[in-house]
């Protein structure tokens, strides 16, 4: 069969730093092709070269049998390559219809947009995804998951020959993922090729035919997914032996295993309520302990974090931090008393993209770095240097804008931001989401080290592995209430899943 897409010998450097060297990719018609690799391996760069966002330094791209001259996203769309980028690239202020139809609106006389048909067409397209919403409302008024599905719907509706999906499931729940898989399978049957980029390796086995692995800007492997094991994929991404990984377990956590003495009490929560999404929450957090919050999307896990960090006001209950009485009612007060909060939404709430690694790292710390009213630059540099080395942050130097770093390294900078204040309590909301396997393990061991040094951690994670192996205790939430508490050692994924399943049954 002739290839739909063949890229070979692709090189690309940014400001002298090589991002891709001799990368290649081949996709057959009607194939679902996975592209994997750690963050910074060059997947996104390769995709952006294909879709005309970046220009390749050299190399050959053939699409549909022709030498490709795509040099802008518009031309890529005209060549019938549709892309769903990892970071949502839609316009939240505009209506759903506009976001789906933009640039391809049905028109009267070729000029005036026919809104009636546009809305109707959008409704039809979304119906294929099982979404029934008011398409005239602004996109931003819907959840991230719906926005993600709208982005996918747009791409699919463009009659593409190749649909590129970069981490399409990172904000979807299980049932929405099923819908997406249905769509991917439908595309495949219609002879459309899909390039599927994901960190969730389990997904790949479900829908992909072949998998291409990238590492350090190179394509290192391309194989059929049937007959391949998850471990082999991970080993390929990391460039390590399969046996080596089997020995050390899947995560760097060892929750409960150390049997550490519980330290002094850091946080006591009694009957905390902040509104309909969090009710009667009780918890005691000790030094050197990780408490995991279990639950599905919207169960109230993030609300616990927001309450402790002083973002949401308590309606009822008591929340004592470090023996102090009374609630922390602003994030600033929380930070002063040693609470750090790594938010879930790295892009919107965490990093300041145009500021340097140094500035991002020391933001929360500035008040403490003051000497005679001036920021002590020497001390700042020393600190930043220390963390860049200690956490293995990959950056050309500390003045590099953080937006140029890969997701995993951005996350490490944010983690360093909080570690730098010498926190007593760290709240980590999805600390390894959208981070590749290698960086994930590194981040986990950084967290473990902090805990051993006496920090109390509240861990929110949608990855069962992480929470099961990481937490000393898991508090399972459903609809803003505690439904059960599990103690490690002894928690397995099955135990947690059963606890979650029971709660959903009870409320169903």
């Amino acid at each position: 069969m002739t290839q739909l897409l063949s890229m070979s010998g692709i090189n690309k450097a940014f400001a002298g730093i090589s991002a891709l060297s001799d990368a290649s990719l081949e996709i057959e018609p009607g194939e679902v092709h996975a592209l994997i690799g750690q963050n910074g391996a060059g997947k996104s760069t390769l995709i952006k070269i294909l879709t005309g966002v970046y220009r390749r330094d050299n190399g050959v791209v053939h699409f549909n049998g022709l030498d490709s001259t795509i040099s802008s996203p518009r031309e890529a769309q005209e060549a019938r390559i549709a892309t769903i980028y990892q970071e949502l690239n839609l316009v939240p202020l505009r209506s759903v219809t506009e976001n789906v139809m933009m640039g391809y609106e049905p028109k009267f006389f070729g000029v005036f947009i026919d809104w009636q048909s546009a809305h109707k067409r959008t409704e039809e397209i979304l119906a294929r995804f099982g979404i029934d919403i008011d398409v005239r409302a602004p996109l931003g008024s819907y959840s991230t998951a719906i926005q993600q599905l709208v982005a996918i719907a747009r791409a699919v509706s463009l009659n593409a020959r190749l649909v590129i999906m970069d981490e399409p499931t990172s904000s979807l729940d299980t049932s929405e993922v099923e819908v997406l898989f249905g769509v991917v399978k439908g595309l495949k049957e219609a002879g459309v090729s899909v390039l599927y980029v994901s960190h969730f390796l389990d997904e790949l086995f479900e829908i992909c035919d072949r998998v291409t692995t990238m590492r350090d800007g190179k394509t290192v492997d391309c194989r059929n997914i049937a007959g391949t094991s998850k471990l082999e994929l991970i080993a390929g991404m990391l460039g390590r032996d399969v046996g080596e990984i089997e020995q050390s377990g899947m995560t760097e956590f060892n929750g409960g295993a150390k049997g550490l003495e519980k330290g002094e009490i850091l946080i006591t929560a009694e009957g905390v309520s902040t509104g309909p999404r969090l009710n009667d929450f009780d918890m005691t957090l000790h030094r050197g302990e990780i408490i995991g919050l279990g639950g599905l999307l919207g169960a109230g896990r993030t609300e616990v974090a927001r309450a402790i960090f002083g973002v949401d006001r308590l309606v009822k209950g008591r929340l004592d931090v470090k023996g102090g009485t009374g609630n922390l009612d602003t994030p600033a007060a929380a930070i002063t008393s040693g609470v750090g909060f790594l938010t879930e939404d790295r892009k919107a709430e965490g990093i300041i993209p145009d500021m340097s690694v140094r500035e991002n790292l020391t933001l929360a710390l500035l008040p403490k770095l003051k000497k005679f009213g001036q920021i002590d630059r020497a001390r700042e540099k020393e600190l930043v240097d220390h963390f860049i080395k200690a956490l293995g942050i990959k950056t050309s130097d500390m003045e590099q804008p953080i937006r140029e770093l890969s997701g995993g390294n951005q996350q490490k900078v944010l983690l360093a931001r909080w570690l730098a204040i010498n926190p007593d309590v760290l709240i980590l909301d999805e600390p390894t989401r959208g981070v590749d396997v290698g960086a994930k393990r590194e981040i986990q061991s950084i967290i473990r080290e902090a805990v051993e040094n006496g920090v109390g951690v509240i861990l929110i994670s949608s990855e069962f592995e992480e929470i099961v192996e990481g937490a000393d205790r898991i508090i399972v939430l459903n609809e803003g209430r505690i439904v059960s508490e599990l103690e490690n050692p002894g928690i397995t994924e099955e135990v947690l899943v059963r606890a979650l399943a029971q709660t959903s049954e009870q409320t169903a």
Binding site: Q77, N89, V91, M102
Partner: protein, 333 residues
């Protein structure tokens, strides 16, 4: 095909609360004027009001397009002053030459802005600030810092002083026509929706394959052209090119746009609400003049500005209250 899209007032209000607020404020102010002042609703007041404010309406609408992309155009006042001089020089050839000539001059300034913003990637605030100074200087140079009298013999002054079919001033008719065309452009064409999409997220718009540069260039050309038209009305209505006029017009225009509920950060806005915003701000002056005419209290021009500022503040506060209920782009999972 029927009904699903029938105009639903409640839905309209819930989706466009800021436009709603500005309509209410306008209605209240008109009602106040009608009750309090005898000649307020008279034909003379209405025509002179519309005639004078047509200039501000048109530059506000041009400004609205720029702001919807997330940009700003500070040059409109100076450009209007410049083009009023151009129009005065061209007036002997009649309105049919002077109007397109002056609008073209405005578009040229817009082209400079578009070039700076789109090609040179200079932030709009700086780029249009430079054009503002340049146009202001240019107006003084070509006029020798004198007002340039128009040719009263030609049909040029008809535009600013006479009525079409003896009903409405020509100025407001022309401006009204342009405003309707621009409303259609915004609501019914890809170009208009692209303008909004750029303000809502420029990177996203590029990745969606929209013609972002073309739309950005368009708004600056449009704003320049609108300022040019305002210059024609100015020269025609006052019988002279006015190189010293136009100071602070850009701020009035921005105020009208903001009162109309358009987000200064872009991505959301409306032509009709901007027109109402411009009318509203003009009406405050009109009412203050009537108040002075009554003789009970007398406000100096300086106090009028203070009051107008206070009114602007009140309207924006009101909008913020109305908007507090809705939350776009702030959903929690």
């Amino acid at each position: 095909m029927l009904d699903t899209n029938a105009f639903d007032l409640r839905k309209y209000i819930s989706r466009n609360p800021q436009s709603f607020a500005v309509w209410i404020a306008l209605a209240l102010l008109i009602l106040f004027g009608l009750i309090r002042y005898e000649n307020f609703g008279g034909a003379y007041n209405i025509t002179s009001f519309l005639n004078y404010n047509s200039m501000f309406i048109i530059i506000s609408v041009g400004m609205c397009f720029v702001i919807m992309t997330g940009g700003i155009d500070l040059s409109v006042g100076s450009v209007a002053a410049f083009t009023s001089v151009v129009a005065a020089y061209l007036s002997p050839y009649g309105i049919e030459v002077a109007l397109p000539g002056a609008v073209l001059a405005g578009v040229c300034f817009g082209a400079i802005n578009a070039f700076s913003v789109v090609i040179l990637r200079i932030p709009p605030f700086i780029a249009t600030l430079a054009t503002m100074l340049g146009a202001k200087g240019g107006a003084l140079v070509i006029s020798g810092a004198q007002t340039i009298s128009v040719d009263w013999g030609s049909n040029f002054t008809k535009m600013g002083m006479e009525k079409a079919l003896n009903i409405l001033p020509w100025s407001i008719v022309v401006v009204g026509f342009v405003v309707i065309v621009l409303w259609v452009v915004l609501e019914k064409t890809t170009l208009g929706r692209t303008v909004l999409a750029i303000g809502g997220g420029e990177d996203a718009s590029v990745l969606m394959g929209l013609k972002v540069n073309r739309a950005t260039a368009f708004v600056y050309l449009l704003s320049g052209g609108c300022a040019g038209l305002a210059g024609v009305i100015l020269a025609s209505g006052f019988g002279a090119g006015q190189p010293l006029e136009g100071i602070g017009w850009e701020l009035s225009a921005i105020a009208s746009v903001v009162v109309g509920g358009t987000l200064l950060t872009g991505g959301f806005g409306s032509v009709t609400a901007t027109v109402v915003g411009a009318l509203l701000l003009g009406l405050v002056f009109n009412i203050l003049n009537f108040e002075n005419g009554k003789g009970t209290i007398s406000f100096s021009a300086y106090w009028q500005m203070v009051i107008r500022g206070g009114f602007l503040f009140a309207v924006i506060l009101f909008q913020a209250k109305v908007n507090a209920g809705r939350s776009v782009g702030k959903t929690q999972s």
